[in-house]
Point group: C2
Chain length 645, copies 2
């Protein structure tokens, strides 16, 4: 038996993430062809790829072993012929029980005497190759596949993500989902500081040393849904989930909001080469099943609700390209007006100065001929802006670069200037906007990106520009995994790196070595945002499924203290129990409905919304409660401090 490695994984990575050392496989792998409950006698002879959890081996002789391979939909018996030669090569026999594995093999029909009733009872799969996707800890608290010896209820409650792998429970959840079409996650959760402020729910219980105990309302069901998929009890999770954020009033944000939330096990990989154009269909990261599900869902919504047929594939752009061309990580591609990097056109000395500063010179040109929609709305002056505005005239056409303060004020010869004007297609009468930007894009938008949107709004409000009516969907991928540029996160990060989205996002496999080498800034994540007409309507990622990598990110990259890490301890342990590679996404349902209903206010699409300052004028909440109740929950109203923000 051969250890399977995706042909596109470079050799060095294959060594770094191979299976012989019982490390999780974090690079691309083939897509499964069937679930473990799907194969029948009709498939005999087929080559198949299965994923699932390896159950205990049964020896069929010195050179023959049988393994049940289980997923939430069924069990298939694997047949493994051990080679007489090279007995030391990696073998399924070395893989701990309950590990997540991928196998490639051939479907064999069973001899009549060996046939069993029920699905997959007529076949075996002879294994040729396998990938150990994630080894289970050798010391699991209990074995969910052992139905003869079920652990006690407290132990199973503590390790619910293992218990959910039990066939009986996983069947119950599938039943529940068939009836309600969703799996639900708890609303009463544990407080865990990640980003925005949570709502707390006091209880009438205290710790042994008399500390009050609280639930917290989820900002998103991120941990429960990952734990659910890690359990193996369900293969896919879907929920319309209520989420909560105790934010100080922000325009059009609601303290409770609704997400279309999903998560999937064994998500697989897109194309393994970079695209040649900025906007393409090339999705290089994992999570292609998530992409497919969301595109199908969105297409169905637009078809049913708007009567519009959307294209069969949404466009894809990397974060880098989006920032470079549109100065935004959620570009509105309904109009052009692209940003140009003019650094390469600069004379050598000037170019070098920019390079040394780690900067580039960006230009947003408004050409009288091509960008006439914007031209008439583009003359503005803003003293405090880092942006320089130059109107090209007969007099400055050859010397604007020399005169430009953004460019650095070095002399540029007339020939060079003419060449640049020709490259940028600039003529007398055009307006150009110049701005210095960091060479490596950071954050969600750049000054020229914001200017681009302002110009578009001006052009629209003056009737010069009307945007196309068909929706422009766009995936943005390959975001930087970590950031220091998010003011909202600085409250918790306090000078440390923050996760751009959340700490569970997996790095691109190409950047795993950089991650471990400490080159944090350049590491890109397997994150994807879905953008509609310049509005981010959702985002998700392939998650880290390697416990060691997750711990490294918590401890070495984000430098979380033990106390800060403690709300994630169950996730870390779940990853050690043979968690499958998985990924998911959440769409902002309220925002989506705002667009679908063609209204400006999120309050127009919620039956009973809160005001912009988070109050409810109908139910007159929040409201006071009686002192009798307050005391039970440990409040001391008379000592209450004044509102602090």
């Amino acid at each position: 038996m051969r250890v399977l490695a995706s042909p596109r994984v470079p050799g060095s990575l294959r060594r770094a993430y191979n299976t012989s050392s019982l490390r999780p496989h974090c690079a691309p792998f083939p897509k499964r062809t069937h679930s473990c409950g799907a194969l029948t006698a009709a498939d005999v002879g087929s080559r198949v790829v299965l994923t699932g959890w390896l159950l205990p081996e049964r020896k069929g002789g010195k050179l023959l072993s049988f393994f049940p391979l289980k997923d939430s939909l069924g069990t298939t018996q694997l047949v493994v012929h051990h080679p007489e030669v090279a007995p030391n090569q990696p073998s399924l026999s070395d893989v701990p029980v309950e590990s997540a594995v991928l196998i490639e093999g051939t479907v064999l029909g069973r001899p009549p005497a060996a046939k069993r009733p029920g699905p997959t009872g007529d076949i075996d799969v002879q294994v040729d190759n396998f990938i150990l996707l994630n080894p289970a800890d050798a010391n699991l608290p209990f074995f969910p596949s052992n139905s003869r010896n079920v652990a006690n209820e407290d132990l199973r409650a503590r390790f619910r993500y293992l218990d959910l792998r039990r066939t009986a429970l996983s069947a119950n959840l599938r039943q529940r989902s068939r009836v309600a079409q969703i799996v639900e996650t708890p609303v009463l959760l544990r407080s865990s500081p990640e980003g925005a402020r949570e709502f707390l729910v006091p209880t009438r219980t205290v710790t042994e040393d008399n500390q009050p105990r609280f639930f917290a309302l989820p900002q998103s069901p991120q941990q429960p849904k990952q734990l659910l998929i890690c359990s193996g009890g369900v293969d896919k999770y879907f929920q319309i989930a209520k989420c909560f954020r105790d934010e100080d009033g922000r325009k059009d944000r609601q303290p409770e909001f609704t997400q279309i939330d999903l998560e999937m096990a064994f998500v697989s990989w897109g194309e393994q080469q970079a695209s040649t154009s900025a906007i393409s269909n090339v999705w290089r990261i994992g999570g292609t099943e998530v992409r497919d599900v969301i595109e199908t869902l969105i297409r169905k919504i637009w078809q049913d609700v708007e009567g519009i047929e959307l294209p069969s594939n949404f466009k894809v752009m990397t974060y880098y390209e989006a920032m470079k061309l549109y100065g935004s990580d959620k570009p509105d591609t309904r109009f052009g007006l692209k940003i140009v990097d003019v650094t390469e056109f600069l004379p050598g000395e000037q170019r070098l100065a920019f390079e040394n500063r780690g900067e580039v010179l960006e230009c947003l040109p408004i050409r009288q001929s091509n960008e006439s929609n914007f031209y008439q709305t583009s003359r503005r002056s803003d003293v405090n802006s880092p942006i320089e505005c130059i109107v090209l005239t007969d007099k400055n056409l050859s010397i604007w670069l020399t005169q430009s303060s953004a460019a650095g004020g070095t002399a540029v010869s007339e020939t060079q200037a003419d060449c640049i004007n020709k490259n940028l297609q600039l003529k007398v009468g055009d307006v150009i906007w110049l701005c210095r930007s960091p060479k490596v894009p950071r954050g969600g938008s750049s000054p020229l990106g914001q200017l681009r949107l302002e110009l578009s709004e001006l052009a629209q409000s003056s009737g010069k520009l009307s945007l196309p009516t068909e929706p422009h969907f766009l995936w943005i991928t390959e975001f930087p995994l970590f950031t220091r540029s998010d003011a909202d996160k600085e409250f918790l990060a306090q000078g440390r790196w923050s996760s751009t989205h959340h700490p569970f996002t997996a790095p691109m496999w190409q950047d795993i070595e950089a991650l471990y080498d400490g080159n944090v800034e350049g590491v890109r994540g397997q994150h994807y945002d879905l953008v509609l007409n310049g509005v981010e309507i959702g985002g998700g990622s392939v998650r880290v499924h390697d416990a060691a990598m997750q711990d490294y990110i918590f401890t070495d990259v984000l430098q979380l203290s033990e106390q800060e890490k403690s709300p994630f301890s169950q996730l870390l342990h779940a990853l050690q129990c043979g968690a499958p590679p998985h990924g998911g996404i959440a769409l902002g349902f309220d925002r989506l409905m705002t667009i679908l209903c063609n209204t400006n206010s999120i309050r127009d699409v919620i039956a009973f919304p809160k005001t912009s300052v988070g109050t409810d004028l109908l139910f007159k909440s929040p409201a006071t409660v009686s002192e009798r109740v307050l005391v039970q929950y440990g409040f001391r109203p008379q000592h209450r401090p004044v509102h602090s923000t």
Copy 2:
């Protein structure tokens, strides 16, 4: 034009609840035949019944008026010919704008010149009769149908139930529902004491006099869903709703649980005569549409999930019959063992003594011949039980009634005793259980009802009895509207009457006069419980839609203080704005799944449940939070009292 009165309403009620005095109509009315957006040229000539909100009149001459009639699905123009004679009889012209009305009339085709584009643009409906279902207050805060003069946002937020009647908002919610298949209600609500204890959610805001302000998590979305339907913005509401209860640990109760929740406008009436047998199909109260929807839903679930075809109508039993025959308001009808009222068989003097005490003598007979399943498990003695057990022998067969302490110990002649034994089909060797009960059943179960269940469990566990596998669904209707027998409610009621279910349940129209006369005990409500195999899986009711009646119930029956009434002020006002007759139901989804998955524990059908004491061993919640956070929410951990229950 004639004021329409349902032919089955007795004359006195017709006078008491007629429309001329602009009082809401609370008695039966015909079912609507179409929505206001449904009629087309194909319906010309049809007799129709429409329900909706009356918009401002347009005069077409001295004897001719036009009224738009609007519901959430469209608008139909009504044509009213005013009679030359009897001009003082009730007229739609006297009905306030935005009142809920029912009209009966004939569909007229419009002349070509009067046709308008869009649905219902080809037709009018000439009104013959109408019922004023609910008059709108003459001083509405604003008129939602006036699209040219939309009120300011704060006013609309305060009276969201009127704003939701606006066509634009109601279209948004319909769109939202098409996408998510549900309408959602808020989770962050205002605290309102009704039954169980709520979870509070502290905010970082205080009142002007420095009192902390809280949201509360809903025990059920009862008020929001009624307000939604009262608004007229949606015709039907459906949600899989999360509900919360801060209860001290009870077996198999979860602090957060899930309801299948629905509410419908313009629910109409069942049969208006009593049934002749205890178990029947006769549904005498309102809410037949709710019954139909739930039976269809349940039938579909059992068909899809269990592959079982359920009967096309579930059985119906009144609370009175259920208590009399089974000693339970959720009888398990999978086995017989019925209770017999033997008072009528007693000699006159004894019977009179029972009558004077307001009691009856109930008997649970176990006949060796017929109840042999139970016979062998029925011998038990329980000293503290109010139940007397007699084994019939040769010696006591003629004198057991004379000897019985439950019967009162009066001598009964041998002839009388023989006659009673014959009536009860009692023979030597039979076992009978006797118990005195109140003549008017109270509460959810009687001692003999509990004994009946115990005997069934004993018979099952000893293998004597196996229950049928097909599910036994049963509706229980006509519950007492008020109670003093619910210990759980006494905490809030403190000696006053409590609502058996909730204060929004409408009385049966036959009992409205008794309600206003103060005969509270005998008033039956339009409540219905759905019982499956002796387990209550859901309950609901037709709601009070008459603001004056709702206020009377709050103030005069339940004797709520102004402060206790204040959380209901928006509902009272919504009823004054032309709220339609409406009703709904909630099914306990977790309990339903427990039965469908054939498991004993609710925790087996929830992905991440809490333990029986309401803690989460996986996420280790509830948990402490940092003092920095505590202080922001007004907690003083150091002064915290010890856990009080």
